[in-house]
Symmetry: C2
Subunit: 198 residues, 2 copies
């Protein structure tokens, strides 16, 4: 008995992470109750994102410009690259506010099951960046999960010939935790206590 367009809206909202069928219904009604202050602005924001947001061809960040604002910022140290799994992780690190280098966003972790290999993670792109600037530091800021650490180990091996100084985030990172869920203080501490690998 839910009208077709509302049902379709509920179905799509329910596909967003963190929303189930019940919260999708509540969200749809919240939108329908506030057409001018919520629904129409949301349409505009979604369209602006679809039109303007692209992936940075250097680091894989999402931004309205390519290269992204971080890669294009001359004040950001080009000799330090922090490797993260997802854009969420980059955002979390930026909120922590202490990192002044640049990023490489993998977009995931190596996974035979999901057919995610080095190509999907832009590993060659990362290796080229490391080769172009000898003596660079590459900080492997991956989640302390099996997938994250397997990927970190693989990256450390691939990066070794470039002579890059390879580090990983230090103490503060809880074992089994995901970077994206950490508080800013812990992230800052982990960055400060980073350790050489191998």
């Amino acid at each position: 008995m839910i009208a077709g367009p509302i049902e379709e809206l509920v179905r799509l909202l329910a596909r967003l992470p963190g929303l189930g069928p019940r919260s999708a219904r509540r969200a749809a009604l919240a939108l329908l109750r506030r057409p001018d202050t919520l629904l129409v602005p949301l349409v505009a924001a979604l369209e602006a994102c679809a039109r303007k947001v692209r992936r940075c061809s250097i680091c894989g960040n999402l931004d309205t410009a390519d290269p992204c604002a971080i890669c294009a910022d001359p004040r950001r140290d080009p000799d330090t690259i922090l490797v993260v799994e997802q854009v969420e992780d980059l955002w979390a690190m930026e909120r922590a506010g202490t990192f002044r280098g640049r990023y490489h966003v993998l977009g995931g972790t190596l996974s035979a099951l999901d057919a995610v290999g080095p190509e999907e993670l832009g590993v060659e792109r990362l290796l080229r960046r490391a080769a172009e600037r000898p003596g660079i530091e590459v900080i492997l800021a991956l989640s302390a999960t099996v997938a994250g650490q397997t990927t970190a180990h693989y990256l450390a091996e691939r990066l070794a010939p470039s002579g890059a100084r390879i580090t990983r985030l230090g103490y503060g990172l809880p074992v089994g935790g995901e970077l994206n869920y950490l508080d800013e203080g812990t992230l800052a501490a982990a960055l400060e206590g980073r350790q050489p690998v191998g």
Copy 2:
């Protein structure tokens, strides 16, 4: 360091019920990762809702037609009106599938604090419907909260002169519910409303 359009998207998503800043960020990235299968369809669904969905001038339900599909359905008993607070409640009742009458959606409860009076709840509209069909049953299916019950009490008083038969939903043990997890008020109501067995 989040790009402007993404930040705006996150801000609007965070205003939806059930989404906080963190889940809004995750939802925004989920949308950006699936432009063709999620973002663009969501824009279309939102626009279709904005364009087509209206409030039923009889019952207050949301539908693409006015009167809504329920009010326009001759198989739905016009002599039983179930009064609910919100469209969510109407949807929940329709999912239960046993009610064959019609609805009145208040859109809220009486609240001096939020300046919600009888006009906002369409009380005159409900009274007219009751007056037009003498001997009608009005089921007050409002929440078992102070606000819900205050509103139900007010509606019962206003409806009394129409001669309508006024009922409320039965209180008691939720089906599938465990006694151990119920609050004292529900237990007392369930005891009070006990039924003969066999």
